[in-house]
């Protein structure tokens, strides 16, 4: 008989996630993932000015800030036929790259590392030996024995104070922690260094978008005018600061993040065969080099992989109703024609139908509906989205930068390509793509400088700004790759107002409950066969869940195509 283990809240994520797993003989035999918070932002944007929507939906998430604003302005521009100037595309790319670098580093150190790094063990490290290891894997300057000795002293003082704060009741000493004390100490050092550094790179957002989190976007381009002869505009000083921040970020990724991932990985090779989950991968692609309307120019290519067959990449069209459907069989909504059919975002409907137990509750009824997250499918298939999917699509297409990065890492670690399909593979893919993005950011930066040098200072196209210039009915799709995976916003603009707006976000793909056919989504599938040494300290489950970098505020959203809100809460 299997035991039900409930983990709620799952911490070190964005938002509210609950996982219930069946454990038998020390292994997960079944899993259920539930989003437990909903805000209905799509309902709120209806009837509003399409030019304002980026600000509303930007607030879907403050961790993956900017990505929803980007998808939104693209969706509206796509609907209205607005083409943005090349400089605006480049600035958006720089915002995108900044977000990736920041988000992936923060995810690794502040959200994921404590699943692998034992803070308490670091107190036993030899600072001299720690320094030798650090210097052998990187030329990062903060690697002297004294640096690590000081840090260790500080750590000892912290622990002996008895006030452990965010580290209290952690799973320290759990046998699943395998790193030697010295690498744990490096992990603690870089946890703090990354915390210090992360506030720097986001200044790129402040320069172009005025603030971070939630920088400003603009339908038609960007609001930050360029004028190299003006203190009140993007000028040489502002651009120099961007360049410096990007170069420092690249150094941090290459000297700290990537070497750390590669140093930790060999101690956890068992995790190269745990947590693989689904065998299908989806990427919309992003980072245009010839405009958003030319997906073939994207640095991250678009495509889908089925059954881990890397010899074929399937074409993806987010405007094709036969490709993408959302299901509500196990979500707290219901469809008029019954809950067994899927619906394309433009044609969807949502009626809330909370059938869960009355709070406070101990267990969800997983046979019925059990999540505020809907269940999207691509051609009927559950898909994983995120860094691993992006790297696999690029790798399968034989793109040079991708094959070099992936093959290089596999060779360095001495593992076969199958190791990619795992919790460890997902974590490594995130680090590798950060390296690519850090390089590309400097390419985009150089291109921006070149454009300005050549006299092109355009930053926004205002030709179709006034609503009088719009058609009575328009539909658009804006896609991007959020750090957590494929993201799309579908908009319908009628009589100059938002008639309908729908998002399918990365964590909806990954965290959703089962579909009508009973197929598990990515989290649930990936948790199967995960070992659970001690149900009171389920660090193994956190490893796999965190490898997806859950973002639950993003995942939960809904709308009603008729603009009517239906209260149907059975419990009360």
């Amino acid at each position: 008989m299997a035991d039900r283990l409930v983990i709620d809240p799952i911490t070190r994520i964005e938002g509210h996630l609950r996982v219930e797993v069946e454990v038998q003989d020390g292994k997960v035999v079944d899993a259920y993932s539930s989003g437990t918070m909903v805000r209905l932002i799509e309902e709120i944007v209806k009837g509003r000015d399409p030019r304002d929507i980026w600000a509303f939906v930007g607030r879907v998430c403050g961790v993956c800030t900017t990505v929803h604003s980007l998808a939104s302005v693209r969706s509206v521009e796509n609907a209205l036929g607005i083409k943005i100037p090349p400089n605006a595309e480049l600035v958006r790319n720089l915002m995108f790259c900044t977000q990736y670098i920041h988000d992936h580093v923060v995810h690794f150190y502040h959200l994921h590392a404590l699943d692998w790094v034992d803070i308490v063990s670091a107190t036993k490290a030899d600072p001299l030996k720690t320094s030798e290891i650090a210097e052998s894997i990187s030329n990062y300057p903060k690697s002297s024995p004294k640096y690590f000795a000081d840090l260790q002293k500080r750590l000892n003082g912290f622990i002996s104070s008895g006030q452990l704060g965010i580290f209290a009741n952690g799973y320290w000493g759990h046998p699943a922690y395998k790193l030697p004390p010295e690498i744990n100490l490096i992990g603690v050092a870089h946890y703090l260094d990354a915390l210090e550094w992360q506030k720097e790179i986001v200044k790129v957002h402040a320069i172009f978008g005025g603030k971070n989190p939630h920088p400003n976007y603009l339908v038609g381009g960007m609001a930050c005018a360029i004028n190299v002869d003006e203190a009140n505009a993007i000028n040489a000083e502002r651009l120099a600061m961007v360049g410096q921040l990007l170069r420092q970020a690249k150094d941090f990724v290459n000297q700290v993040y990537v070497p750390d991932v590669l140093a930790v990985a060999p101690h956890y090779f068992d995790w190269a065969s745990i947590g693989g989950g689904l065998s299908n991968y989806l990427s919309y692609g992003d980072l245009p080099t010839n405009g958003y309307n030319d997906p073939s120019s994207f640095k991250f290519p678009r495509g889908a992989i089925l059954n881990r067959d890397l010899s074929k990449v399937h074409e993806v069209d987010p405007t094709d109703p036969s490709q993408i459907q959302e299901y509500v069989k196990h979500s707290w909504y219901s469809y008029t024609e019954g809950d067994d059919k899927g619906k394309f975002p433009w044609d969807g409907e949502t009626k809330m139908n909370f059938t869960g137990p009355e709070p406070p509750y101990d267990q969800l009824n997983v046979e019925d509906k059990y999540s505020w997250v809907k269940t999207p499918r691509w051609k009927g298939n559950p898909m994983e989205v995120g860094p691993l999917s992006r790297m696999l699509v690029g790798y399968a297409l034989g793109k040079d930068e991708f094959t070099k990065a992936v093959d290089g890492a596999l060779k360095y670690l001495g593992v076969p390509a199958e190791a990619l399909f795992s919790t460890l593979g997902r974590t490594a893919a995130r680090a590798l793509e950060t390296q690519l993005v850090a390089n590309w950011a400097l390419e985009f930066y150089d291109q921006l400088i070149l454009n300005i040098k050549n006299g092109d200072e355009r930053m926004a196209n205002m030709e179709l700004w006034e609503p009088e210039s719009w058609p009575d009915l328009a539909k658009g799709v804006g896609t991007t790759e959020a750090p957590r995976g494929a993201l799309a916003h579908w908009s319908v603009i009628k009589e100059r107002k938002i008639e309908n707006y729908q998002l399918i976000v990365p964590s909806t793909w990954n965290s959703s409950p089962r579909d009508a056919a009973g197929q598990r989504s990515a989290y649930e599938e990936a948790l199967l066969n995960t070992p659970v040494e001690n149900p009171e300290q389920p660090v193994e489950i956190l490893r796999t869940i965190h490898s997806f970098d859950p973002c639950m505020a993003c995942a939960v959203h809904l709308y009603d195509e008729k603009g009517e809100h239906v209260h149907n809460l059975n419990v009360f």
Binding site: I7, E14, T36, M37
Partner: protein
């Protein structure tokens, strides 16, 4: 297996911790000076800050997350001045925050309950996010309980309660019409205690740090305005502290984004800037270590620290009217000012704009300098 418990003993002061971490007295005083400046204190206040941080032990802090996007947590970790991140992570005892804490599930709840029991009446409660209420209460559940149930329990033993950001202060985006989940700011759930509101989407990181340090230093709540916001950070309109204000006074406006006036950094009032009706520190403190703020980067303020700002749009329509010489106007009056599309607003502005600059404006308009059409009645003189 080592399992470290939260202990209740009073531990060392912030200063002791700082010294142990290798910071010297000078670093420490520098930090105190910065924080004193942020709190709007004079030079003599620095000593008070320093003294308080030297003597006080680390108070227990609980950070709850309800209907939110986590932008407040993200902004908090952006707080930039030396030692702030270290102090706030290490020198308050942040015992519960779903975003950063190591344990999950039962072990995480253990941290919460231990703090609530062992520090009853002492802990600081920070709340990020709004609370769905009534028959929509199930729209936010943690550990099987609704946000409403949890907030009521955890607020009981709190010495101070802070509403982080616009979600907790006024409901923010999910409370915009039609507020389908009955998203409610926390002061409407917890009615018997003072709530310090730190609105903004998100608030500026240094402002968040400043509010906490104020409480650590003086062991009392910061002085609040009539709507519950700390006066130190919310007593000035963005408009009155905006470096582009002289353009407004001179009638120099951006007409549309990326036009020649935008490239000169003129006032963004006509493309919708909400600076005139928004109380926040953006113009003074700026964002991300003082790097910029929305207006400096060419986009109007959207008023994210004001209640109901989402329903005060559309964002790119300029405000109909507001007092022209506004520092003396209070938040309550301004809050009543409606936003909307009307040319009357601009005319009204022209009337109350500094009369002494009328000549300059007139000449500029006549030359087509600012993209403004010369008005037919421009010659009509107005007096104050």
């Amino acid at each position: 297996m080592m399992n470290i418990e939260v202990k209740t003993k009073k531990s060392r002061s912030v200063y002791d911790d700082a010294v142990e971490k290798g910071f010297n007295r000078r670093d420490f005083m520098k930090f105190c000076t910065t924080m004193a400046a942020f709190m709007g204190l004079s030079a003599s206040g620095v000593t008070a800050v320093a003294k308080a941080l030297e003597e006080k032990s680390r108070p227990a802090v609980i950070w709850m997350h309800f209907q939110e996007c986590t932008c407040c947590s993200e902004s908090f970790i952006r707080s930039s001045h030396p030692m702030v991140a270290d102090l706030l992570l290490d020198n308050i005892s942040l015992n519960y925050t779903e975003t950063l804490q190591a344990p999950s599930g039962h072990a995480a709840e253990k941290s919460l309950h231990e703090t609530m029991e062992n520090h009853f009446g002492e802990y600081i409660l920070l709340v990020e996010g709004s609370v769905p209420t009534g028959d929509m209460a199930s729209c936010c559940c943690i550990g099987g309980k609704t946000a409403e149930q949890i907030l009521n329990e955890v607020a009981e033993g709190a010495a101070a309660i802070v509403a982080w950001g616009s979600c907790a202060s006024n409901g923010c985006v999910q409370a915009a019409k039609p507020n389908p989940t009955q998203a409610t700011p926390i002061h409407k759930v917890i009615k018997n205690k003072t709530i310090i509101k730190v609105p903004g989407c998100p608030p500026i990181g240094e402002v968040m740090a400043g509010v906490i340090v104020h409480m650590l230093t003086f062991e009392r709540l910061p002085e609040l305005d009539s709507t519950g916001r700390p006066k130190a950070f919310y007593s000035r309109r963005v408009h009155d502290t905006c470096y582009r204000r002289p353009n407004y006074d001179a009638g120099l406006f951006v007409e549309t984004f990326d036009d020649p006036n935008a490239k000169k950094g003129y006032c963004l009032y006509k493309v919708g800037c909400r600076g005139p009706v928004t109380y926040n520190a953006c113009g003074v403190t700026r964002w991300n270590d003082g790097t910029s703020f929305p207006i400096q980067s060419g986009h109007g303020c959207i008023g994210c620290s004001e209640a109901n700002y989402w329903d005060n749009g559309p964002f790119y329509s300029h405000l109909a009217e507001f007092p022209g010489f506004g520092i003396e106007s209070n938040a309550d009056k301004i809050g009543l000012a409606a936003a909307g599309i009307t040319a009357a607003g601009l005319t009204a502005h022209a009337v109350i704009t500094n009369i002494r600059k009328r000549k300059i404006i007139k000449e500029g308009v006549a030359e087509g300098k600012y993209g403004l059409e010369p008005k037919e009645n421009e010659s009509q003189e107005k007096t104050e």
